[in-house]
Symmetry: C3
Subunit: 162 residues, 3 copies
């Protein structure tokens, strides 16, 4: 079997929220708002590979298959506030992996951020690693008719970029 | 951190329904009925890469890892009608990606197809693209004991084919 | 358009259970207990490629993307017993693929194992193949505060191993 290697060289974080005519369209529209509406997300659980820089979301090739840790919530209850968040923490030792946590719920942005921080703290306490860097990205949305909030961490290779 | 990659060169659509002794067996049997029961589906959200032809489902290598957008529903309520559908639409501009939508529910085939069409219409209205081609594939199933209906769009590489 | 691909050369099975401060931390801790807490699981449905040996879980590179069939259950009901199991069966004909089944539920280990066996029996009856080898891996956990049980079959490539 011939194989070509694709090396994950960058990580980018994004979040978005939107309304839509259906739950799936609201999800699609939130992905578009987050800048990842024209790529194929492949859901992963939830590790930041060692020594990969975090960059601003670049332009990704349409249809690219992008390993992504993400949280999303859709609601059809007008007036309800929903939130989604992702965060990562990296250990002191650069040879060791970081950890990604996701949160979604009927919550506001602050609650989502607090939930991520608490989960990352436990993840590093359990691993016996001090945290060198911790970042959280959250979005909240108050539903008009059918709304979606999502947050995502994408693992990117050079070949995925335009 | 490395991954290996292959080139998606074809897309194929399929659907199937079946009974089973358990919900998971009904799902397995529906996959077999759809011709994808001996491959590993890797769920994706939900973009058709640009300039990839849609072909009839070919024979795929057993165990191949196949990025797939799919909808599935299992029911254990005898007499209930369930349906699953997928559809895609492609834009006028062949350099731009298409969009895939999925539907599953306690519905009949017509309702499933209508839902897909409405979602694809919105997806293209939002993207500001006219639709060049739109196709929907749906299956309905009336449950005897434990039934499953599923529809899937598979992204294929040459290496996946027998 | 490119996607993740690897030549799977080994399969390893594992299971674990743990408590955590949140449902997601319990899941993370169960992954750590199972020896796969620092890799990225990519969920697959649920085929064992032909002619791949099953080995003891090796040390996997941190952050590696690992196609994995898994079952997991989290409970926040103290005293409740939860179980997760995976199993595989291989056919007589080594050129044909095996099948993986997953189970999770409010059950004990024996019930989880029995469920897997029954599902694998049906999967091979339906395929018209005699079973050459069948193995089941299950774990049960009695919840203290927030607990998770999980079982997983990982598809490994040489490049994933330390």
């Amino acid at each position: 079997m011939a194989m070509i290697w694709k090396k994950v060289t960058k990580v980018a974080v994004t979040a978005g929220a939107a309304e839509g005519g259906t739950a799936l369209n609201a999800f699609d529209n939130a992905l578009l708002a987050a800048g990842i509406g024209n790529v194929n997300l492949v859901k992963i659980s939830s590790i930041l590979p060692p020594e990969i820089p975090v960059i601003d979301l670049p332009k990704i090739k349409p249809g690219a298959l992008i390993p992504t840790a993400y949280a999303a919530i859709t609601s059809e209850v007008p007036g309800e506030t929903i939130a989604a968040a992702v965060g990562y923490a990296m250990p002191d030792d650069p040879a060791k992996n970081g950890v990604i946590m996701e949160f979604h719920g009927h919550a506001d942005r602050q609650q989502a951020e607090d939930a991520i921080r608490a989960m990352l703290d436990e993840a590093f306490r359990v691993r016996g690693e001090p945290i060198r860097e911790l970042k959280v990205f959250a979005v909240e949305h108050t539903v008009e008719r059918i709304g979606c909030a999502l947050a995502a961490i994408t693992l990117l290779a050079e070949e995925d970029l335009v």
